[in-house]
């Protein structure tokens, strides 16, 4: 028997097809069957009046922690958090224990994701064997197993010769290299952005130049090799400007930003709360403004979360001992709507493109579209609902968020993965 789901009367926004109109979307047997469908068709109906109907959101930078750090997150809890945040697909980062650098470990992730049966999980694998930064992992084998991109995130790809070889080798498979851009000698012992606030608080700093210098190296190597560079979690004015210029001269580069880097500054560290400690750190107001301009002019392609769960006992430490990173899956959409869309910085199609078709294209995955025949991954968004961030309600196993208590407007209402409703807002 055919299963039909009709999402009726919503504002359907699909940046991949430049669609933005109030209409009905029909899903049949897990696939997009029709746009502008007959509203009286025999189907289970989801009333989307007053709501936004988007291709399922994709978060291309998520730390699911499994295997090895299940006290922080598991694939089951992380993907449950994803759908609660409106994400139907995530790309998980391979800095697990052990790291994802073999076919078997890729398949383990896929197996656990299938078992969890929440969001789709795409696997990024290590550039280097055992994530040691010494020699290339078996990238061809990993691609065959389903890895969609390569990164040693958690650490930068440090050796420039390894980076050059990674670009060359990954080009054969047309997969991107994702780098965490940081010159470690400039950030040793660092806890926060180096600037006025770190000077006053006496906290060791992580200067913008640590990011800028590495981005500069990576852009030059990508340009020389023709490789595909994706600059992870961009945060500095200097890095945004370099990516802008590189794009203009044809370098194959894309970049992403996390909500905390366009909503918070280093001034937040005055509370000495480790939920404001992440890498790259919260930057100065001028960097935030440059990042927002990069979002506006298209230099920044993707909005992702760098969802980095840490168990409470790890974060409840002195600032220098607490690990870097914050959770983001369950706050990202609300932050984008409240701080980018509602103030008019981005319109709905532009913002959604950065969370749907752009990451899909970078990863080369068949997602992020409402094309007829595509997997029916759909996020129905309530753009007007007001809510307060309450970490106690997170589905993530961890609650290390700097946004606790924030009043946000807009969130995921109904989340459909391959035709199945995986989340309905209470």
């Amino acid at each position: 028997m055919t299963s039909r789901l009709l999402i009726r009367g919503g504002r359907v926004i699909d940046p991949s097809q430049k669609i933005d109109r109030v209409t009905n979307l029909l899903i049949e047997d897990g696939r997009i069957a029709a746009l502008d469908a007959d509203p009286e068709v025999d189907a289970r109906v989801i009333d989307a009046t007053g709501k936004i109907v988007s291709p399922g959101l994709i978060d291309m930078h998520v730390h699911l922690r499994e295997p090895g750090r299940e006290e922080d997150e598991t694939i089951a809890t992380g993907t449950a958090a994803a759908v609660a945040g409106g994400f139907t697909s995530v790309a998980c980062i391979p800095n697990t224990e052990p790291p994802i650098d073999t076919q078997a470990s890729v398949e383990f992730i896929q197996h656990q994701a299938a078992r969890a049966d929440q969001a789709n999980v795409f696997v990024t694998a290590c550039v280097s064997k055992n994530r040691e930064g010494k020699e290339l992992a078996e990238i061809g084998q990993l691609v065959e197993a389903g890895a969609v991109a390569f990164t040693d995130d958690g650490s930068p790809i440090y050796n420039p010769e390894l980076m050059r070889r990674a670009f060359e080798y990954c080009s054969m498979f047309d997969v991107p290299v994702l780098n965490h851009a940081e010159v470690l000698e400039l950030t040793t012992g660092g806890v926060m952005h180096e600037g006025r606030v770190s000077m006053i608080l006496g906290l060791p700093g992580m200067p913008s130049e640590a990011e800028d210098v590495m981005v500069s190296r990576d852009l030059r190597l990508a340009e020389a090799t023709g490789g595909r560079l994706h600059v992870m979690h961009i945060s500095t004015a200097g890095a945004v400007e370099q990516v802008r210029r590189a794009k203009a001269r044809g370098v194959r580069v894309t970049t992403e930003i996390c909500p905390h880097h366009f909503t918070l500054t280093d001034d937040s560290l005055r509370r000495f709360d480790s939920n404001f400690k992440m890498s790259p750190p919260l930057r100065a107001q001028s960097d935030v403004e440059a990042c927002i301009e990069g979002l506006r002019d298209g230099t920044i392609d993707v909005i992702c979360t760098d969802h980095a769960p840490h168990a409470r006992e790890k974060k409840m430490q002195e600032l220098d001992r607490a690990p870097f990173g914050i959770v983001g899956l369950e706050t990202a959409l609300g932050l984008v709507i409240t701080h980018l869309i509602r103030p008019g910085i981005l319109d709905w199609p532009t913002a959604l493109a950065k969370m749907t078709i752009h990451p899909a294209r970078i990863l080369g995955i068949d997602k992020g579209t409402l094309n007829v025949g595509a997997d029916a991954d759909v996020t129905v968004i309530d753009p007007d609902v007001r809510w307060t961030v309450d970490p106690a309600k997170f589905r993530s196993k961890s609650s290390n968020t700097p946004f606790a208590g924030w009043e946000l407007t807009g969130r995921a209402d109904t989340v459909i993965v391959r035709g199945e409703v995986k989340f309905v807002a209470q």
Partner: protein, 320 residues
């Protein structure tokens, strides 16, 4: 020992501080109040035969996660001269080495009925975090390179005793500004009381960005010295530096050590201060440290008085 009384000033209703975490957030009036109270305590502070009962029944815990001799002793004496009971906690013999977090440790100490926690820690902000997590009065005795409020208060008390006022004076803080909690507390305190502050040291240890906070930055001690009423020589914090920020101790001493020859450039009535411990021969030569311009030992005596004042203002009024 005999109990005695001290003629204390009336505490204005505007004094609302529950903790002493930093000087950045205190007003000039609040700083002056602490100094005024400290002035009244000074005879008791320096006279070992006297003891007050203003804090009898109060328990003060020294929670020192980082080594200290002078500050811990000074706080203990201050508490005892006010009649408080004191306990010392040192992390070497504690459960911190067993993985307990510092907040757990502090909560356990609180559960034993402690009223005041004096905390020193290598990490900025730790006293602030404790104040949010426990019910005791928290006094910052130095949090990494962030602040050391009682040190700056005793420095200011010493200057005020010697010069009658702080307003209008030019005070140079010399040396390792980057890693100095004493520098940060002095910057805020001195500025609020109307002094002109000069930060002087090698460019790798003195950020030009301090100029935005309304202080003067100089890399030449010889140039600024003739203008100074007070020079406070900060210790080079070798233990906090990841890469030595100057080529050699010899070169540092050549440029910044206070020696007799350099002292000739200074005013006749210049005050030479150092928060201690000092590296003799690096920041200051022994003849200057022990010479007529030095008020280093007055600073130490004033330390007890300032800490008595802080303890009484924060804990004395609730317990009495």
């Amino acid at each position: 020992m005999s109990a005695q009384t001290v003629d204390l000033p009336a505490v204005p209703a505007t004094w609302k501080q529950r903790h002493l975490l930093d000087l950045e957030s205190l007003s000039a009036e609040e700083i002056k109040l602490i100094l005024d109270v400290a002035e009244r305590f000074r005879p008791v502070a320096v006279g070992a035969r006297h003891k007050l009962s203003l804090l009898s029944g109060t328990t003060v815990a020294n929670l020192f996660f980082e080594n200290s001799t002078r500050t811990r002793t000074s706080f203990s004496l201050a508490a005892r001269r006010l009649g408080a009971d004191t306990i010392d906690f040192s992390p070497s013999g504690s459960s911190l080495s067993k993985g307990e977090t510092f907040i757990d440790t502090a909560k356990n100490i609180e559960a034993m009925g402690v009223d005041v926690v004096i905390v020193r820690h290598r990490t900025p902000g730790t006293p602030h975090l404790l104040s949010e997590n426990i019910g005791c009065v928290v006094i910052n005795a130095g949090d990494g390179p962030h602040e050391h409020p009682t040190q700056a208060l005793l420095d200011m008390l010493t200057i005020r005793q010697q010069r009658g006022t702080i307003e209008g004076l030019t005070v140079a803080l010399v040396g390792d500004i980057a890693h100095s909690r004493t520098a940060r507390s002095n910057i805020w305190g001195l500025k609020k009381l109307g002094a002109h502050v000069i930060l002087c040291g090698p460019s790798t240890l003195v950020s030009r960005q301090w100029e935005d906070e309304g202080v003067e930055v100089s890399y030449s001690l010889d140039e600024v010295l003739p203008r100074c009423d007070v020079v406070n020589l900060l210790r080079i914090q070798f233990e906090r530096q990841l890469m030595r920020p100057f080529p050699s101790v010899r070169e540092y001493a050549t440029l910044y050590a206070m020696n007799r020859q350099r002292l000739e450039r200074a005013r006749d009535d210049i005050l030479i201060m150092a928060p201690g411990p000092i590296n003799r021969g690096v920041e200051i030569t022994p003849d200057v440290a022990d010479g007529p311009h030095s008020v280093i030992l007055e600073q130490v005596s004033n330390g007890v008085a300032v800490r008595m004042a802080v303890l009484w203002l924060l804990a004395g009024q609730t317990s009495s």
